[in-house]
């Protein structure tokens, strides 16, 4: 009943070229170490080399920690799914065995590796793979072979909008994050009695930037905000002065940025140069890149607000999150962050579904995933629980807002879990 590891791959005579270049590929993957008892093989696809190697490395720690939580007994982590039992009880205590594959951050490679995991490594399910573009192609392989794909962190709304049957996303997508930003602005505006209806968007001209700009336009209209400027640029730009001048001229109260790290640094510097700062600058990703962002801009990063799926501050408010963070810290020497927290939770949710399915058949697991019902106290993220809609998107997700204060990231919203008071409006440059 468990997926029995196939023997060593039989040598095949391939074209001379294929042989020369292909040899490295036939080596068994390193993660396959003999363990007693039945196992369930789960393929994990992350960028282990290339530009995003560091992200892949911490994802590896997170997913491995989650597998350990499933495989070993952690009574104090109850009611986290499968924490207090050894292995998967309904599969005779089978262990989760991870098979790692490197996407190199490249969509084509991601798909090729996913196919390899399914065809050659006979994995039962897939988890990954941080980037939306790569996840999109991995999803094609999953669809074709009928293997469930659990997506903890990739956040392009398109992934769940395309109607994949086998894709399930546990974390929020960019549209939900944008919605979250507006809820935050609603509450701040009410609380501080400050007129903040004028919004500007500064986004890179990629799918990521364009999607966020599109959602921002839609939500702003629905909620009665006015988008006064919307500027795109090609990354990396030699200068962002023209863009920010136009935005400044439009006089927004809040600027929403959809940028990655390099451009976030340039935005910070250009704002400082222009001696201008809106009431609030809310970034989606780049400003929350720990620790590179702050080491590049130093104290100039203060008062930027970014959306987050999770933040270390939450570990102080939530017992389970704190306990898992402690385990992670012991393993790696650093805290969980918004990606690793989602990755730990993602694999737990997948394991929970496999356990409930009770067999290793793809369709049964898919149905079990679709029927997932977890409550708010069973997760380590600020969610209302886990429940997938018809498109495979967890509809009970939540998030929070973090502000950089004195060179540290502090949770400032939702107000009931805030660890520091929001500074709003941000002080001008000459009074910092």
């Amino acid at each position: 009943m468990s997926a029995i590891r196939r023997g060593a791959v039989l040598g095949r005579v391939v074209l001379a070229l294929a042989f020369v270049f292909g040899t490295a590929h036939w080596l068994p993957s390193a993660a396959v170490l003999a363990q007693p008892g039945p196992t369930v093989r789960v393929g994990a696809l992350y960028p282990l080399t290339g530009a995003l190697a560091r992200i892949g490395a911490s994802a590896r720690h997170a997913v491995e920690l989650a597998a350990e939580i499933v495989n070993r007994e952690y009574r104090d982590l109850r009611p986290l799914p499968l924490a207090s039992e050894r292995g998967l009880p309904r599969l005779g205590g089978a262990r989760i065995e991870l098979v790692w594959a490197d996407t190199r951050g490249d969509p084509a490679t991601g798909r090729a590796e996913a196919e390899r995991l399914i065809e050659r490594e006979r994995v039962t399910a897939l988890v990954g793979s941080w980037q939306s573009a790569v996840t999109a192609t991995v999803a094609l392989a999953a669809e074709r072979h009928g293997v469930p794909l659990l997506v903890p962190e990739a956040s392009s709304p398109r992934l769940t909008e395309r109607g994949y049957r086998w894709l399930f996303r546990t974390g929020p997508h960019d549209g939900m994050f944008t919605e979250l930003i507006f809820s935050f602005m609603d509450e701040v505006g009410k609380l501080r009695r400050r007129e903040m209806r004028k919004v500007a968007v500064l986004a890179e001209d990629t799918e990521f930037g364009a999607t966020i700009a599109g959602w921002t336009m839609g939500i702003a209209q629905r909620r009665g905000y006015n988008v006064v400027a919307r500027e795109f640029y090609t990354s990396p730009p030699a200068s962002l002065t023209a863009e920010l001048l136009r935005i400044r001229a439009a006089g927004p109260d809040v600027v929403i940025g959809a940028n990655y790290l390099v451009d976030a640094i340039l935005i910070t510097r250009t704002l400082k140069e222009l001696r201008w700062f809106p009431d609030g600058f809310i970034g989606h990703v780049g400003f929350n890149n720990v620790p590179d962002y702050l080491s590049a801009v130093g104290r100039d990063g203060n008062y930027f607000v970014t959306r987050a799926a999770w933040a270390p501050g939450y570990a102080k408010r939530n017992r389970l999150a704190g306990a898992v963070n402690e385990l992670f810290r012991r393993r790696t020497g650093y805290d969980l962050d918004q990606d690793t927290a989602r990755e730990v939770m993602g694999l737990l949710i997948l394991a929970d579904a496999i356990n409930r399915a009770g067999r290793l058949d793809g369709e049964t697991i898919r149905r079990a995933l679709a029927e997932t019902r977890l409550s708010a106290d069973q997760v380590i993220l600020p969610w209302r629980g886990v429940e997938f809609d018809s498109k495979g998107q967890n509809r009970l997700v939540g998030g929070m807002m973090v502000q950089i204060l004195d060179g540290e990231y502090k949770v400032v919203w939702p107000f009931d879990v805030a660890e520091a008071e929001l500074v709003w409006p941000a002080p001008p440059w000459d009074r910092r």
């Binding site: 290339g50 530009a51 190697a53 001209d205 500027e231 795109f232 640029y233 090609t234 990396p236 730009p237 030699a238 200068s239 002065t241 023209a242 863009e243 001048l245 136009r246 001229a249 790290l261 390099v262 640094i265 340039l266 510097r269 400082k272 140069e273 222009l274 001696r275 590179d292 080491s295 590049a296 801009v297 130093g298 100039d300 440059w429």
Partner: protein
């Protein structure tokens, strides 16, 4: 109106930086008619050099100039001796491919050495200064001033020193220069030294306000070519005029019309200039 003025002033400062980046490209192009596709990679390497001096030894980027520029002068000289001298008289295609290969080697060596991460220098006491009523980062003003200084210095060198005159002679006619006893080979090597040294100067001055990664050359290569072609290739002052034009064009049209299309304006100007006036703004109509 204030917006236009602001865009113009910061565009001019940006243009001076572009001009400094393209100075070496223009010089090398003019002296030996070799187009160096790897030019912006030297910029990237100089930025790394400056960054590491700052990160490891806390050398301020401006203080690093006397170290970085001579280093890259030597680097340029060496590049000439090892590679370029073999292709000076080769067909255009060979020159293009040789420097194209060089681009790959330099870029991915940086990638192997420093990884894909982005590095920036965060200077304490970095301030904003008012220039003609427009706030501009003090490091940018310094970079602009240094750019102007470099152009004046180079012009003076070419006009008033014996070596400078010899360099010009070598540029105008190799055979005649040789017959006059000018060591053309040395002059070529010198122009590579100066060309790469000047782009290293640009790198050192850029790093306080611009971050470096292995692919950063992409942001500057075409702009540098556009500056050289716009101003008139083979003329040192052409790079200055071209750089300024590009900076102004990018910032003014970007601010007034659409920032997304600002590079499109630059490249369109570049292509139009190639087609309509290949000799550039300052150049004399050619043969």
């Amino acid at each position: 109106m204030e917006l236009v003025w602001h865009a113009a002033v910061s565009g001019a400062v940006l243009g001076l930086v572009y001009a400094l980046v393209s100075l070496g490209l223009s010089l090398i192009w003019g002296v030996m008619d070799v187009v160096n596709l790897a030019h912006a990679e030297y910029l990237m390497l100089a930025m790394y050099a400056t960054y590491w001096l700052w990160a490891l030894a806390r050398v301020d980027p401006f203080a690093a100039v006397p170290v970085v520029v001579p280093l890259f002068f030597g680097f340029g000289w060496l590049t000439y001796q090892l590679l370029v001298r073999r292709i000076v008289r080769a067909p255009v295609a060979t020159q293009i491919f040789a420097t194209f290969g060089l681009l790959f080697v330099l870029r991915y060596t940086a990638f192997a050495a420093f990884g894909p991460n982005v590095y920036g220098v965060w200077r304490l006491g970095e301030g904003t200064v008012s220039l003609l009523g427009v706030p501009v980062a003090s490091s940018k003003i310094l970079a602009g001033a240094a750019s102007l200084g470099a152009f004046v210095g180079l012009a003076a060198f070419l006009r008033f020193t014996k070596t400078g005159k010899a360099l010009q002679a070598a540029a105008q006619n190799r055979e005649v220069a040789l017959s006059l006893g000018i060591p053309v080979d040395r002059m070529y090597a010198l122009s590579w030294g100066i060309g790469i040294g000047s782009v290293a100067l640009a790198g050192a001055l850029l790093i306080p306000f611009y971050q470096v990664s292995p692919t950063i050359g992409d942001a500057f290569l075409l702009v540098a070519f556009a500056s050289v072609v716009l101003g008139g290739f083979g003329r040192v002052d052409g790079a200055l005029v071209g750089g300024l034009c590009i900076g102004l064009l990018e910032n003014l049209l970007g601010t007034l019309l659409s920032p997304t299309l600002k590079l499109l304006f630059v490249f369109a100007a570049f292509v139009l200039m190639l087609l309509l006036r290949p000799q550039g703004l300052l150049g004399e109509p050619g043969r």
